[in-house]
Symmetry: C2
Subunit: 459 residues, 2 copies
C-alpha cells in the first residue's frame, strides 16, 4: 500500500508530457492544479523547452502565469520568448506588478517591446516605469498593487470601494491604505484597524497617520534592510523625487532580495559568475560560462606557480619540499577564506564598515599569529618526523606560520576594500586572496629553504 | 559645512560610551532613539561587553529590547547572561514571541530557567512551548501574536475587542483573524476585508473561510517555502498534532530563515563551521573555532600530499612537474566547486532532487569533457612552450583534462548524496571534493609522467 502511494505521487511527471503531446488542455490544467506544492518546480522545469511552450499555449492565461511563477528565471525567459507576443502579453497581465517588471526588464529589448505593444497603453506605461528601476532598490522591489484613496474621502466611501473592488484587491496587502492629495502626493497612512473602529461618516483624513515614514524610490537594499530592522512595519510607501506615491515596498520583498543576494554570494564564491546556470541549459552556454571564470583562474594559477619555476634549483636540491607546496597553498587559502567569510558577515550585520580597516587588520593578525603558530608547529613536526631533518621542519613550519598571518590579514581586509570601492566582495575576494597567498607561500618555502640549503641537502 | 554634517552623524559613537560611564540614563535613551537605522548595529555592537551590560541596566525594558534587536546573536547572549535574571526577564517580556523563544532556546539551560522563573507562569509556559520547537520548522518560525476569536462571536464583538486591545494588538498582522472552537481547534479564517464589509450583527462564523489551509507545527523550512511559493498568502495558521491552533507562520519569517540559511551555507563553504564568529569575541574563541576546521583540513591535505611523497622519484627525475601540481589541484577544485554551486542552487529551486543523480552526472560529465579539453589544451600548450617538450605537455594536459571530468562529476553529485543522507551539503561538499580531486590530480600527473619517463628526462 505504501509503495502505491509513493507511485501515485509521482504520476504527474509521466502524465503531464503525455497530456501536452495529446494537446489535452483540461487534463494539463487539472494535473497542474492538483500538483503538490513541492513537486511543481521539479515537474515543470523537467519538461523540455518545446513541451513547456506547448503547455503555455494550451493553458488559460491565469494558469500559465502560475506555471511561470514556479519556474527558475532562465526557464521563464526561454518560455516567454517562445510564445507569440500576444499570448505572452495575456500571461504577463496575470502576474503581480513586481514580477511583470522583473520579466520585462530581463527580456531582450525587442521581445519586451513586442509584448508591451499588446498590452493597454496605460498598463504598459506602468510596467515600463516599474521595469526602469534598478532591481535592488525600493523602486525595483515595490509593488503597485496597494490601496490608495483621496484625502477628502470618508470612511464610508473607502468601505464601499473595498466592497466594489473586492476581486481586484484580492491579492493586496490591506494592512495599510495610503492617502494621497490631488497631485498623487503621499499625505498619510490609514491603518485598516483604525478604519474598522471608525464611524462611517468620519473623514479618513481625521483617522490617518500624518506625514508617515516613506522611502525614496532609489533607496538601496542595505538601507531598506536597516529600516525594516528598525521598524516592525510590514511595508513602507515609496515616493519618487517629486514626492509622488509610486508604490509600496513590503518586508517580504526585502527579505526575499536579501536571500537571493546571499545565495548569489555563495554561487560567486564557488566560481559561478557568468550568470546563473541550470543543467537544462545547452551545453555550450553551461560550458562557456564556467570557462569564462576558469580561464581567468588558470592565468592567476600560472602566475602563482611561476614562483615555483623561478626557484626550481632549490626544489631540485630538496625534492621533499614539493610535497609541502600544495599543503601550504591550500591551508593558507582556507585560513584566508575564513577571514573573508567573517568580514562579509560582519558587513551584512552592519557591525563592520569599510572604514574599520585597522580594527579588522589588528583582530585578524592576532588570530593569524595564534593559528599560524599551531598549524606551523603541526606541519613542521610532521616534516621533522618524516625526514628526521630539523631544518626541513623549521622551513615549512615557519613558511606556513608567516603565510597564515598574511592570508588572514588579506582575507579580512580585501572584502572591506572592495566594498569601499563599490566592487563585489563575494566575487573578487577569493581570487585575489588565493593568488597572493599562493605566491607568498611558495616564495616563503623556497626562499627559506635556499637560506637553509646546507642543512637540507640529502632530504 | 558638509564636513560638519559628516562629523555630526558620527557623534553618537563617541557620546554613548561617555553617557554610559556617567550613568546618564536619559541621554543614553535619547541617543539610541535618535540613532539613524543604519548606525545602530555598528554603534551598539562596537561597545565593550561591560558597556553593553551597563547600558541595559540603565535603560527601561522596552528600549533595552530594541537594543537587543539590533545586536548580532552572540552579543545578545553575552549581554543577557551578564544581567540579573529579574532584569533580563523584564527585557525579554518586551520582545516578540519568536525572538523570546529563540533567545531562551539559545541560552544555557540554567540561565534560561533562572529567567523563566522571573516571568509569570503562564507566559513562561508559552515561551517554553515555543522554544521547544526546532528552529527551522513552522513551530520554530511562528509567532503567537495573532488575532484569535471564538466561533460564536459576532462581528460587533470582534470590532469591540479590537478597540479595547488596540495597544496589545499594535504589532499584530491583522490581515487575517483565526476562528477557533471551544477546545482551541482551528475552524476558520476571517479576512479583515470581509469583516469590514459585514454588518455588525453578523456571526463571524458566517463570514469566515471554513477549513482553511493550515500547516503542522513540525513542517520543515523547505516545505514551507514550497507552500508560500504556491499560495500568495501572507501567513498560514500552525496547528499541533491535536489540531489545536498554536501560532501563525508569516511569509516574512520564512523568507528571513531562507536568507539566514543561504548566508550560513556561504560561511560554511568558506570554513566557518564551529559557530558564527564576530571579531568582538575573545581571541581564544575565534582562534579555537577556526582551528577546529583547519586541523581537519590539514589532515586531508597531508593525505592528498602523501600521493606526491609516494611518487617522489618521478618528481625528482622531472622537477618541472612540481610547478604543475598546485595548478592542477587548484583548477580541478575550482571546476568541482562550480558543479557544487549549481547542484546546491538547483536543489534550492526544487528543480533537482537527491534522486536525480544520474541526470546530474550525465550533464556534468559533458561539461567536464568540454572544459577539461579546453583547460588541458591550455596548460599542455603552456608546458610545451615553456620546456619545448611534447611529452610534458601531453602529461600535464591529459592529467588536467581527466581530473576536470572527475572533479565536476564529484562536485555535482556529492551535494545530492549528502542531502539524501540528511547531511549538510554546504559543509561537507568542499572538503570531500578537494581531497579526492587533489589525490586524483597528483596521482594522474605523476603516474602519467612515470609512464612517459623516457621522453621526459632532462626537462
Amino acid at each position: 500500500m505504501s509503495d502505491e502511494t509513493v507511485l501515485d505521487s509521482s504520476v504527474p511527471t509521466v502524465e503531464l508530457p503525455e497530456a501536452i503531446r495529446e494537446r489535452d488542455a483540461s487534463t494539463c490544467a487539472r494535473l497542474i492544479s492538483e500538483m503538490p506544492a513541492g513537486d511543481a518546480a521539479h515537474v515543470l522545469s523537467g519538461l523540455s523547452d518545446s513541451e513547456r511552450s506547448d503547455l503555455l499555449g494550451l493553458l488559460d492565461a491565469e494558469t500559465s502565469a502560475q506555471v511561470l511563477e514556479h519556474l527558475p528565471e532562465p526557464q521563464v525567459l526561454g518560455a516567454v520568448e517562445s510564445l507569440s507576443p500576444a499570448i505572452a502579453a495575456r500571461i504577463i497581465e496575470e502576474l503581480p506588478s513586481d514580477a511583470q517588471a522583473d520579466l520585462i526588464a530581463t527580456l531582450d529589448a525587442e521581445d519586451a517591446e513586442a509584448i508591451l505593444t499588446e498590452i493597454s497603453a496605460e498598463e504598459a506605461g506602468e510596467i515600463r516605469r516599474m521595469a526602469a528601476y534598478a532591481p535592488d532598490t525600493a523602486g525595483g522591489l515595490m509593488v503597485s498593487e496597494f490601496l490608495r484613496f483621496p484625502r477628502d474621502w470618508t470612511v464610508r466611501q473607502v468601505i464601499e470601494d473595498l466592497g466594489e473592488h473586492a476581486e481586484e484587491y484580492a491579492d493586496y496587502d490591506i494592512q495599510y491604505a495610503y492617502v494621497v492629495d490631488d497631485l498623487g502626493g503621499l499625505v498619510g497612512v490609514l491603518r485598516m484597524r483604525d478604519l474598522l473602529l471608525s464611524r462611517r461618516a468620519d473623514a479618513i483624513a481625521s483617522r490617518m497617520i500624518e506625514a508617515p515614514i516613506s522611502v525614496a524610490d532609489e533607496m538601496p537594499l542595505d538601507e531598506l534592510e536597516a529600516l525594516f530592522d528598525e521598524h516592525r512595519f510590514f511595508g513602507f510607501p515609496v515616493v519618487d523625487e517629486r514626492g509622488q506615491l509610486v508604490g509600496v515596498v513590503h518586508r517580504t520583498a526585502v527579505e526575499n532580495a536579501l536571500a537571493e543576494s546571499a545565495e548569489s554570494d555563495f554561487r560567486r564564491s564557488q566560481g559561478i559568475i557568468g550568470g546563473e546556470e541550470l543543467r537544462s541549459m545547452p551545453l555550450r552556454v553551461r560550458s562557456g560560462r564556467r570557462l569564462a571564470w576558469l580561464s581567468v583562474n588558470i592565468v592567476l594559477n600560472v602566475v602563482a606557480a611561476s614562483v615555483i619555476a623561478m626557484h626550481q634549483d632549490t626544489l631540485e636540491a630538496v625534492i621533499a619540499l614539493a610535497v609541502f607546496l600544495p599543503i601550504i597553498s591550500d591551508m593558507s587559502g582556507c585560513s584566508g577564506n575564513q577571514a573573508v567569510a567573517v568580514s562579509m558577515r560582519e558587513m551584512t550585520l552592519g557591525v563592520t564598515r569599510p572604514g574599520d580597516f585597522l580594527r579588522v587588520l589588528r583582530k585578524e593578525l592576532s588570530v593569524g599569529a595564534v593559528n599560524g603558530l599551531v598549524l606551523g608547529a603541526l606541519i613542521g613536526t610532521l616534516a621533522l618526523i618524516w625526514k628526521g631533518n630539523i631544518a626541513l621542519g623549521l622551513v615549512v613550519g615557519a613558511a606556513l606560520m608567516v603565510n597564515t598571518v598574511v592570508a588572514v590579514g588579506i582575507g579580512g581586509c580585501v572584502p572591506l576594500v572592495l566594498k569601499k570601492f563599490k566592487k563585489d566582495p563575494a566575487l573578487a575576494s577569493g581570487p585575489i586572496l588565493t593568488t597572493v597567498t599562493d605566491m607568498c607561500g611558495f616564495f616563503l618555502v623556497l626562499t627559506l629553504a635556499a637560506l637553509a640549503l646546507p642543512y637540507l641537502i640529502g632530504v
